[in-house]
Amino acid sequence: MTADALLLGALALLTATLGVVGGLGGAILFVPALVLVGVAPAEAAPLGMLMVAAGSLGAAVPQLEEGLLNHRIGVVGELGASLGVSVGVLVSGLLTTTALTWTLAGAALAAAGALGLRSGLRNKPDPRTDEASIGEHLGRLAGAYWLAGAVIPYRVRRLSLGLAMLTLTGGLAGVTGTSGGYLKTPILSEVMHVPVKVAAATVTFMVGITAATGLVAYAAQGRLDVGAGMVAVVGGLVGGRLGALVQVRVSPVIARRVLGAVLVVVAILLVLR
């Protein structure tokens, strides 16, 4: 294996780990990093999509078994986001990339501010809930998760506003060719009051669907470099698994701070890109 392949694999592993812990997807970090080390942007974007798909798959089993992710929230959110992506791709020719990049960078900074300014935990342990209620609840956008020996129940608030914002995020993602995970997690957490760890795990599930759609498009355009792609896939699978294991152990407050810090980096990368 060449030094270039090792660097690609290491970057995929690192960004997939961060992407899963923060619920970012990770392409927003991986693609600019590849461009910085000399990969052409047209080749870097499909590699980013492969890494996101692999990271999402690598994280799936641990997140499922820990009861962290909520499929119902993911499915409802992804419906809105997918509709937005289609509209975004259709109107992408009508908007200037520069204006959109600054909009996305501003949104990332606003999300970082919202995450950083809030202190403590919004969702508190409820003594009436027990271990049997961990996971998602039938027929409702609600659930419970395990945190430091206590069961924390939660339910979605401000659904209409959150869905409108997720649809808008999907539209922006469609225009700019990103998965938008770095905005979806703060929307779930700060607007819809989903605990940040549940939000991150749920968005990791959502970006797997987005990446699958993107991979079909790139394959149809003949833009997938299968050889280099396998390095990104192996790095992404390992990073996704590692990220899910870290996510279980990290406290929500630290997860929120790390996500906020990474979003500031994302905003800078967006502007520099």
Binding site: V61, I134, G135, F205, I209, M230
Partner: protein, 90 residues
Amino acid sequence: MIGGWRRSGTSVGLRLATWTCFLLGSVALLLPPSFAIWTGWVVIGILVAAPITRVLRIAQVWWRAGDRRFAGFAAAIPVVILAGAVLVGL
């Protein structure tokens, strides 16, 4: 709730898909390019099929559990993606 997913076909299928991708992806790095390309396309096929199959499986599980509304939302996702792809293609 946790036990339900741990024992479910979804969890087993995802575990199988993850390990297959990891093993085939690693093998592809060692094979000559002509063989590695075919192995790589199998891995990409699994990466695309896994989330779509997962959503359809979830829809089936929820439908059987009587959660028809959310089963409908889950089943709508591949339709929305397909419709979007057709729209974008046109």
